[in-house]
């Protein structure tokens, strides 16, 4: 499969994402500079973590207008698989590809630690290889992970099973104590109604190999590849 990893100015998790797909999972990876407007033959797109544009104005607020985002939106609209991790999630929110917005963490601190998330929906393209209710230990590293949306949208997301990952205890209980940043409903990851765009705050790309001491993130990427194998053709979008 051919995976595109978008690189914005100050993205810093792009190489980890490349490493996962290329070296760990043996796929073709294309690094896409944010000024590219044509995305050719990609099976999936990754918006990686980092501090795009220094998080100026609001995190992801400027990156969402990068030239590449037109093509990313078209790719998503035509059903292409897009995963946004951390800053990538923030960019998807600002771009309107996912509902809601991120607020500053409730503690006001940048939090960098391992947390646990519960797979609430194991039927998505990103969690298909997970068990429902499976607990993953993943690191977070963010200051703006406090997910917010209005009550109407939240109810719709709950009804549509769009909440994919929730912060939980190691035993899988979703509690306020397990919520590192005040995120609404302990939300750590969501998908769009169509199910092809996922955003998650934790960093699965930081735990895919045994030598790192944690392989829990691997299942997200394996799920994506499985879903792609089932689906078929790569897509070509953009103005060129």
């Amino acid at each position: 499969m051919k995976i595109g990893v978008v690189v914005f100015p100050e993205s810093n998790c792009d190489h980890d994402c490349e490493h996962v797909f290329k070296n760990v999972l043996g796929q073709h990876v294309e690094m896409i500079w944010h000024k590219e407007t044509l995305l050719k033959g990609l099976d999936a797109i990754v918006l990686p973590g980092g501090f795009s544009y220094g998080d100026y104005l609001r995190t992801g607020a400027i990156a969402r207008f990068s030239p590449v985002m037109g093509a990313v939106k078209e790719f998503a609209k035509s059903g292409g698989m897009v995963i946004g991790i951390c800053n990538g999630f923030q960019i998807l929110l600002e771009a309107g590809l996912l509902p809601g917005a991120m607020l500053r963490n409730e503690s006001l601190n940048f939090i960098c630690k391992d947390v646990h998330v519960k797979v609430e929906n194991a039927a998505t393209a990103f969690t298909g290889s997970c068990e429902s209710g499976q607990v993953l230990k993943l690191p977070i590293a963010h200051a703006d992970g406090n997910y917010y949306t209005d009550p109407v949208t939240l109810a719709a997301m709950q009804a549509n099973a769009q909440i994919v990952l929730r912060y939980c205890t190691p035993e899988g209980r979703v509690t306020p104590e397990a919520n590192p940043n005040g995120s609404l409903d302990n939300i750590a990851g969501i998908i769009n109604p169509e199910g092809n765009v996922l955003g998650m705050m934790p960093h699965p790309e930081r735990c895919v190999e045994e030598m790192l001491g944690n392989e829990d993130g691997r299942v997200i990427f394996v799920s994506m590849l499985e879903a792609l194998k089932k689906a078929g053709q790569p897509k070509m979008v953009g103005a060129g």
Partner: protein, 79 residues
């Protein structure tokens, strides 16, 4: 024309920074302050002399970029 823009969190959105500042004020002895909210202030020069047109443009800037209208509201002054 000069545009002066204030962007603030919508009422009802938790503002932990505001709360932290409120507690700090309280510790300093300022017991009369409540409901501290922190926002952003931006200024820009606009190459548009027609006030009505300038208003439309500044409003679009706010809606599109300067504020995230899911969580923020904005107001502006044109001089």
């Amino acid at each position: 024309m000069k545009a002066k823009i204030h962007v603030t969190l919508k009422q009802g959105i938790l503002d932990p920074q505001g709360k932290a500042i409120e507690h700090a004020l309280d510790s300093l002895g300022f017991k009369n302050a409540a409901n501290v909210r922190v926002g952003k202030y931006m200024e820009l020069d606009l190459k548009e002399s027609d006030k009505a047109k300038a208003e439309v443009e500044v409003k679009q800037m706010c809606e599109k970029l300067l504020a995230n209208t899911i969580i923020e509201e904005y107001r502006y002054e044109l001089q």
